[in-house]
Symmetry: C2
Subunit: 347 residues, 2 copies
């Protein structure tokens, strides 16, 4: 367990700030100007040597200034940093952007990714509260003619999922009636995850009473259901990658960029909803492609409707204090907005 004196702590803090703002290693003379106490550069050099022994700062070469190491950022984030109170202008932007009328939760969550990426100039990810916790409130099968049927699934929160299927024979509404009625009777009102579970077990059996050949229908229902229950990350500010990346190898940029298109990989990186705000720095991120970046994740809570996440990807040298403050504010505003939304549908 590392313990720093007050002065060492101030020095580390100043190095983090300077390096984040200027992008260049910081020397002892520059620090003389900035520290609140009056000490000589030689003293600072002594302290810096100590910080380096502890592994909190590093040199790029024997006679260069210092920059924070991963461990240094870690210490800074854990013990020094105070979340900055969110800028009033930024708060206004958030509230205004979330203030409009939305027709779907996914729109709110998707837009959130965009707002956050604009505010930060970094790349953001958002995850809606898990749909599994929503309840099935309706299922429709609409024959469209031309051998096509559209399946529509509705939840109590107003989420709508639909999919069109091509089927061998033309079907009229009357033929589908008993199936839809079966679902209304047996499954409406249950959380989607329970419906999913039942689909594996008792539904096929029961459905056999209503339909001669239930397989085709089960495929359709299962497909829409799992599409609805699957989690989707929205990505904002993909293009911002160009602003903060240090890479110039096009191939590396390419793999990075393609990572952002793969929801499952993003899910691995960001992990399940957890406690409050978490900062992962450099190689603490479980993906080698991101080992030169930092990731701030925050879980937001919408009461009985479950939890969602927002996340921010940026350079290791980012203004953590401001970012953490911003994430906190956003987290609160988003949760509030979603609560409002759910309340509207619960009426």
């Amino acid at each position: 367990m590392i313990t720093l004196t007050e002065r060492q702590s101030l020095i580390l803090k100043a190095i983090v700030r300077d390096y984040t703002e200027g992008g260049n290693p910081v020397g002892s003379k520059a620090l003389v100007q900035e520290l609140p106490m009056k000490v000589s550069s030689a003293t600072i050099r002594n302290e810096m040597a100590h910080l380096e022994d502890l592994g909190l700062i590093v040199k790029t070469h024997l006679s260069s200034g210092r920059m924070p190491s991963i461990k240094g950022y870690r210490y800074y984030v854990d013990h020094i940093l105070k979340p900055e109170k969110v800028d009033n202008k930024d708060l206004k932007v958030i509230q205004h952007s979330l203030g409009g009328e939305f027709h779907k939760i996914d729109e709110i969550v998707a837009q959130s990714a965009d707002i956050l990426s604009q505010l930060t100039s970094y790349t953001t990810f958002t995850l809606r509260p898990e749909l599994k916790h929503s309840r099935l409130s309706g299922f429709r099968l609409v024959p469209l003619g031309n051998h096509q049927v559209m399946a529509i699934l509705v939840t109590n929160n107003g989420d709508v999922e639909n999919q069109t299927f091509t089927i061998p024979t033309d079907i009229t509404g009357d033929e589908l009636e008993p199936v839809v009625r079966f679902i209304d009777d047996q499954l409406v009102g249950l959380p989607l995850q329970d419906v999913l579970a039942k689909l594996q077990s008792e539904i096929p059996l029961k459905l056999a009473h209503y339909l001669q050949n239930p397989d085709g229908f089960l495929d359709i229902f299962g497909s829409v259901l799992s599409k609805a229950a699957s989690e989707r990350f929205y990505v904002g500010g993909k293009l911002n990658l160009f602003n903060y990346t240090s890479k110039q190898d096009p191939q590396e940029m390419r793999s990075l960029y393609s990572l952002l298109d793969q929801t499952d990989h993003i899910a691995d990186v960001i992990g399940p909803p957890g406690q409050h705000i978490q900062v992962r720095i450099g190689n603490e991120i479980t993906n080698d492609l991101l080992k030169d970046y930092s990731l701030i994740t925050a879980t937001y809570d919408v009461d009985q409707h479950g939890q969602g996440m927002i996340a921010l990807l940026g350079p290791t040298a980012m203004p953590y204090s401001r970012m953490i403050g911003l994430m906190g504010a956003f987290q609160r505003e988003l949760a509030r907005k979603l609560l409002d939304y759910y309340r509207y549908f619960d009426e």
Copy 2:
């Protein structure tokens, strides 16, 4: 009007080929090896000086080798190049990729962009045959509860467009019945563009007979209709940009990349369906961001179902001969596949 001797033509051709393959300016000595006739490097130098006077090739500095100018590429494409017969393996890939079962035209067209970008390692755009020519074959309004209604529009070609609306009051199927019947009576069977036209003129009046307050419904119908009739480009191989771009300025990459996300800008660049295969080189493209690239566009024809387009964006130094051959083949295969698809739905 430029006319070249046989030998000059061969030299220009060789310069284009060498420069495309190697990426470096081509010198007179290298050409001695490659030309079919035996001439000295001095003779080639004389010919090259002439080609330079005509503006077909340029030097990067006083004593460098030559590379083709835009004008040089233009001449090459117009007068020298012969489309390469498409590689048998590539043809197999195309046929196999388009051979599967598709449920929607948009899937076929979207997948086409991906296949083409894989085959070429460049970036591709595809545009489906204009939906305006399709006929309205059905319209449904499905009440979903929770103040929501889904509007579904179906065409005779199996295209389905749907959109969910939130409305102030809950509505039952019975109330919508007359509206849907009105549409079935009056509009089904007409091309979408005619429906669009009528929506501006006679429909509002007629609808007033069926509904007290037709405005809300007209908004919904109009919205789905215009969403269906709007053209959409599919983009394939966005990431391939990293392979062939010469830019390393991240800001420029950024604007380029964001251009690919804007369907309307792409439409401007690629232009309306035209004649067969067209090659635009460098500043012949009407967008300054693309002035260092080349664009090959091809229009494909699906008989009475209208025309669509495929397009290819790559470096000015691209193997035009192979690419034009490939575009031709793809154009034919895609048209055939779509004809099959339409035939299936016309049954």
